[in-house]
Symmetry: C2
Subunit: 242 residues, 2 copies
């Protein structure tokens, strides 16, 4: 029923919009995501996107109903899938600290990999807050907050993390620390760090893990070894600890 209603709404003669993923569609979306991330959604014109994929502006409307629809397609499903992966990691059979470290590793690497998406989520936060049709973005952010919350509650319960932690502030701080660090790394500042040297991603991740653990560990564990983690991602998309 729902799908019938959607099909009726999405196009009079339904060209190829809304559903499948022809190569062309995916290429256009990837290019649009890149431009949105670089210049902002509202400052990117459909003409710029069209030029970049060597098509005429009008022809884009064969693939997508509106510019907004492109943004939805870039953000919604991919973000949902990412949160699913976060949850899988948080559910691994490891102690809370190891789960935290694994999640931090994964989140950072994942943000670099899907940089365009995360840059858009970060930069267009105002837009998403204003527009009700993007409410799902906030919902997904809340979901990933709660994933970290569970880890911290476990860690406090078993004495690894400080019992006086304000979880709301701490989780927010860690999330922002990570995404701003990824943003910094992606901007190339890590490489052209002219003042000293270049930084590899693993090094930046280790630095951030170290910072985070110093913030959350009980004082007696402040110098404990940092858990090593290797993640295995199966072809199915499932993750497991190595």
């Amino acid at each position: 029923m729902a799908s019938t209603a959607i099909a009726e709404r999405s196009g009079r003669k339904a060209p190829s919009q809304g559903n499948g993923s022809s190569k062309r569609r995916q290429q256009i979306l990837a290019t649009a995501a890149e431009l949105f991330a670089e210049h902002g959604f509202e400052s990117t014109s459909v003409r710029q996107i069209a030029d970049a994929v060597e098509i005429l502006a009008g022809s884009l409307y064969h693939h997508f109903a509106t510019k907004d629809a492109m943004l939805h397609e870039i953000v919604r499903a991919p973000f949902e899938q990412i949160v699913v992966k976060y949850r899988a990691i948080a559910d691994l059979p490891l102690d809370p600290e190891a789960r935290l470290v694994t999640l931090v590793h994964f989140r950072f690497a994942e943000m670099i990999e899907n940089w365009h998406l995360h840059a858009i989520i970060l930069q267009e936060a105002n837009l998403f807050r204003r527009r009700p049709d993007f409410d799902y973005v906030q919902d997904l952010k809340t979901a990933s907050f709660e994933i970290l919350q569970q880890i911290f509650e476990d860690g406090i319960a078993n004495g690894m993390f400080r019992p006086d932690l304000d979880l709301y502030l701490m989780i927010g701080a860690i999330s922002r620390l990570l995404s701003s660090a990824a943003s910094w790394f992606r901007s190339g500042a890590a490489i052209h760090a002219s003042r000293t040297r270049a930084y590899a991603m693993a090094e930046v991740i280790s630095f951030n893990v170290d910072c985070i653990l110093r913030m959350v560990r009980v004082p007696s564990r402040i110098e404990a070894a940092i858990p090593m983690v290797t993640l295995q991602t199966r072809p199915s998309g499932q993750v497991s600890a190595a």
Copy 2:
């Protein structure tokens, strides 16, 4: 010589542009800053600014040569003055940790106070990187980096801070932590933190100071008392420790 050249360049008949600060000019700039911070520079039209100050769009060009000129006036001088104040605090006759804590307090409060400016600096980072006429923004960021660097070098030298600190990474992390925390606080999330309760600014600052000190202190000082700081700002703009 330079000022003559600028006067010649800035306008044929030089209305009231470039120099003084009539009330009207300041009102327009304040409104523009608000809109730029909220919606982004490129997404804000001169018409929106004009509407907000109840004037016609064309009339704005009596006050400012271009939309870009407005942005320069909003960012340049104010940011320069802020960095001057950062430096004054870093030069106070206190031990390095007290100077760090004082600077963090001041920076956070100042970011909330001049929120529009900081939001613009944060959000339009891409724009400022692309456009050579905004190079001074990067220069000022570098200057405030070096102010923190001096404090950390002193703190490592006298044994208060970890000698294994990577200053480049740590200063970047702290700067981003603070500005993202201020952004979060300003967004109202601190008040509508529906899940638990509201947070006062002093509380958020204390939390961040605590996090920062845990990251930088030598392990033996991890639970040392946190220096209390009260800043006095004289009418002249000079600051001193109370």
